[in-house]
Symmetry: C2
Subunit: 407 residues, 2 copies
C-alpha cells in the first residue's frame, strides 16, 4: 500500500492504526458541553483532558447531505456537487432529488483508500446517504434503516441484525443512531477495518435541547460506544454535519417565513419558485422547515426587486445572488437558485403555508440550514499536531486531522 493517498487535491497518509470518523448529525457543540456538565459522558470528558477539542465550520446550507459528502470527500460542495437534497431542473421545471450518486462530482476518500487496499467500512443511519457515501467504494457499506436487507454482495457484510444484537430500529428513533454505533463497535472488533465512517441521524437533536434529559441520554449512549471504540485502539475523529437551534418563540411556536406566499403576494404568483433543499422523504421531525432556501425567478422577473422584498422580511439574515452564494458558501452555481436566502437563528423558511404539515411536530421546532448552525465540534481522542493559526477549520478537515494524528 502506498504511504500517501491523494484525493481531490489533498494528501492523506495511509493509517497505521484504525481510524474511526464519527459524524454526529445535528451535534450543536452545546450538546456535548451540557452532557459533560451533567456528568453523563465520562469518555467525552476524558477526550477533553487527553485528546484535542476544536471547533470548525460546516458547509452552508447546514444540511445533512452536503456536509456528509464534504466530510467523505474533504472538499466543499463546489467540488463534490451535492448542495442539498433537492434542486430545480430548469429544463424539466421539476424538483430533482440529489440522492443519486450520478450527481456526485468528486471521488470520496473512502473509495480512494479502498482502492489503495485499505479495509473500509461505512455505517449510516438513514439509507438516503448510503448510495452517495459508498460510491465506488469496496468494503462494508450499509444503513441502520435497512439493516435487515443487507447482503454480502451488495453491502460487503451480512447478518447485521445478529451481529449487532439489536432489532431493526425505526427510522424515527434514537435507536437508529445507536444501531450505527453498536454496529461500528462490532465491525471494528471482528473485521478490523483501517477506516470506518459512522454517520448518525438528528432525530433526537430535532426534539431535545442541549442538557435536557432526552439529549443527555443520547450522548450518554454515544459515550458508551465511543469508550469501546477507543478501547479497541481506534483513532477517533468526531464532528457534525451541522448544528441545531430552537426555531420558536417563548411559547414554542415556530417562527416561519412562508416565502412563496410572501413572494406570490408581493411580486405576483408564478414569478418566483422557492425551493427548500432540506426537503427529503423524512420530514416528520422538522416539517421540511430549515433556515435556508433558494429562489428561482422566471424570465423577466427583476432580481434586485425580489431580493429587496426578501431582505425586508423580519427574520431574514442574508440574501445573495447565485454568484455571491456560490463564492461565499463554495456551492455549485448550476445547482442553486437565482437567489439564496438564509434566515436568522430563530427563524425558518417555508414555501407556501399549505405545503407544510406541522401536525406531526409534537415538540417545539428545532432545526438547521442557516449560518447559525455552521459552527460544529471537531473532537479527537488523540493530541493533534499544531494547526496553522490562519487555517479556517472545517468539519471536512476531520479525516485529514485524524489521519495525521494517527501517524
Amino acid at each position: 500500500m502506498s504511504n500517501v493517498i491523494e484525493v481531490n487535491g489533498r494528501r492523506y497518509p495511509m493509517m497505521k492504526q484504525p481510524v474511526v470518523i464519527v459524524c454526529v448529525d445535528g451535534c450543536e457543540q452545546e450538546y456535548i458541553n451540557q452532557a459533560i456538565q451533567a456528568g453523563v459522558t465520562p469518555f467525552l470528558k476524558k477526550m477533553v483532558e487527553q485528546g484535542t477539542i476544536l471547533s470548525g465550520d460546516c458547509v452552508v446550507p447546514s444540511f445533512t447531505n452536503p456536509n456528509n459528502l464534504s466530510i467523505v470527500t474533504g472538499v466543499p460542495p463546489s467540488v463534490h456537487g451535492i448542495c442539498g437534497n433537492y434542486f430545480l431542473d430548469r429544463e424539466a421545471n421539476q424538483e430533482v432529488m440529489m440522492n443519486d450518486a450520478k450527481y456526485l462530482r468528486a471521488g470520496t476518500i473512502l473509495a480512494a483508500f479502498s482502492d489503495a487496499g485499505a479495509k473500509v467500512a461505512v455505517v449510516t443511519a438513514k439509507d438516503k446517504l448510503r448510495g452517495l457515501l459508498g460510491h465506488k467504494m469496496h468494503g462494508i457499506c450499509f444503513s441502520a434503516e435497512k439493516a435487515d436487507q443487507v447482503t454480502l454482495e451488495q453491502n460487503g457484510i451480512e447478518n447485521v441484525l445478529e451481529l449487532v444484537g439489536m432489532p431493526l430500529p425505526s427510522v424515527y428513533s434514537a435507536e437508529l443512531s445507536e444501531f450505527v454505533f453498536a454496529a461500528g463497535v462490532r465491525i471494528l472488533e471482528q473485521q478490523s477495518p483501517d477506516l470506518m465512517y459512522l454517520s448518525t441521524t438528528d432525530y433526537i437533536q430535532h426534539k431535545y435541547a442541549p442538557g435536557t434529559p432526552g439529549a443527555n441520554a443520547f450522548y450518554a449512549m454515544m459515550d458508551h460506544y465511543l469508550t469501546q471504540l477507543d478501547a479497541l485502539g481506534a483513532v477517533i475523529g468526531l464532528t457534525a454535519d451541522h448544528g441545531m437551534n430552537a426555531k420558536t418563540d417563548g411559547a414554542g411556536k415556530p417562527n416561519v417565513i412562508y416565502l412563496q406566499d410572501v413572494l406570490d403576494a408581493q411580486c405576483g404568483s408564478g414569478t418566483t419558485r422557492v425551493i427548500l433543499p432540506i426537503t427529503d422523504p423524512y420530514v416528520v421531525h422538522h416539517g421540511a422547515l430549515g433556515s435556508y432556501a433558494t429562489v428561482y425567478l422566471n424570465d423577466g422577473t427583476d432580481l434586485n426587486k425580489v431580493a429587496a422584498k426578501i431582505n425586508a422580511i423580519f427574520g431574514i439574515e442574508l440574501v445573495l445572488t447565485r454568484d455571491e452564494a456560490a463564492k461565499k458558501f463554495e456551492l455549485p452555481a448550476d445547482r442553486i437558485g437565482d437567489l439564496v436566502v438564509v434566515s436568522e437563528r430563530l427563524t425558518v423558511i417555508g414555501t407556501a403555508a399549505t405545503r407544510h404539515d406541522l401536525s406531526e411536530l409534537t415538540l417545539p421546532l428545532r432545526s438547521h440550514g442557516g449560518i447559525s448552525e455552521q459552527r460544529v465540534p471537531l473532537i479527537f481522542n488523540r493530541k493533534l499536531a499544531p494547526i496553522p493559526s490562519d487555517h479556517r477549520l472545517r468539519n471536512f478537515d476531520v479525516m485529514y486531522l485524524a489521519m495525521n494524528s494517527a501517524i
Copy 2:
C-alpha cells in the same frame, strides 16, 4: 389624573388596573419554552393559552442598563443616552461609568406617571440600576441588594426585609431575583401601586442553559410569583433586557477574542483603546466578557485599516463605524467609540488577556451583548389589540402594550 401621559413622544393611557412590568434579565426565549416543556411553569403555560405571546428586539449592545433604560423610557439609547456601563471620556482619557442619573437624557415613564398622580413602585435586583430607574420618580424604589438599607425617606418604603419575609440575599444568587418578585407581590397586595416595575438579575442565566435543572428551578420560582401577581388583578407584561447564549466550544472552553492584544500586535501598542461596556462592578459570572466592544483610535490611526484587521478575525460578526453603529443600533454617537465591534453567537470579546480573571468562572461561559442576544420575549397575561404587521416590536414597547391592553 389625566387620561393620557405623553413621555418621549409616545402616549400612554392612564391605567384602570394595576400594571406590572417584569424585566427578566437574560431571559432568552428558550428558557421559557423549555420550562413549559418540562411542566414546571403552569402559569406561563396558561399565559400561552390565555394571554399574548410575542417576540421583540432588544437594544444592541444587548446589555442590562441600556435595555432597562429603554424599557422605562420607551425609547432607544439615542434618546435616553445610556448605551452601556462604561464609555471613554476622551478629554480625561478615562473610562467613565454611566450609572449616574446625570447621564440620562430622557425622562422615564415611571416618573411621568408618578408626576401625574399614579402610585409607582420599582424593585430592582442590583443597586446599580436603582438611581437610573428611580430618577425624578416619586414612590417606592429600592434594590434587593440593599434591601436592608431601605428608608421611607430615600426609598418610599421601609422594613422591607420584614415585609418580604426573606433574609438579605447575596448579590450573586437566584434569591436576589426571588426577592424582587416576592417584594413585588407584597407591595401589590399592601400598597396597590398603579404601575410597578420589577427587574431581576441574570445570575442564573449566566450559569445554566435553558431546560437544565438550575434554569427550570428559577422559572418555576418566577411562575409561582407571577401566579400571585395575576391573582391580585395585575396586567402583567414580561420581557427581557437581552437574551443569553453559550460562548464556548464543545468542552465548555470560552471562545474569546482578546481584541486589545490583537490590535496592539497588528496596529501597534497604544494606537487603539478597546472598551467593553459590559464591564461593571459585578463581573464574577461573566468575567466582563460579552459579544460587543467599542474601539477608540488615537489621532492619526487609520480607521479603515483597523476595521479591516478586526473584520479578518475569526468569530467577528460585524464592524461598524461610529456613525453606522449610531444609526443601525440607535445609539448616542458621542458615547460610543470610533468603531463598534460585535462578535458572533458563540464568541466573546475581551481587552487584554491579562485583564480578565476567568478563575471565578466555575461553569462554562454564557453571556450576551451581541446581535445574537437581541430577540427577547414579550409576554402578557391579557389579549392585546392587534399590532400593525409592519411595526418592529421592541422590548421597550412592553409598557405601551401592557397599558393599552389594560384599558
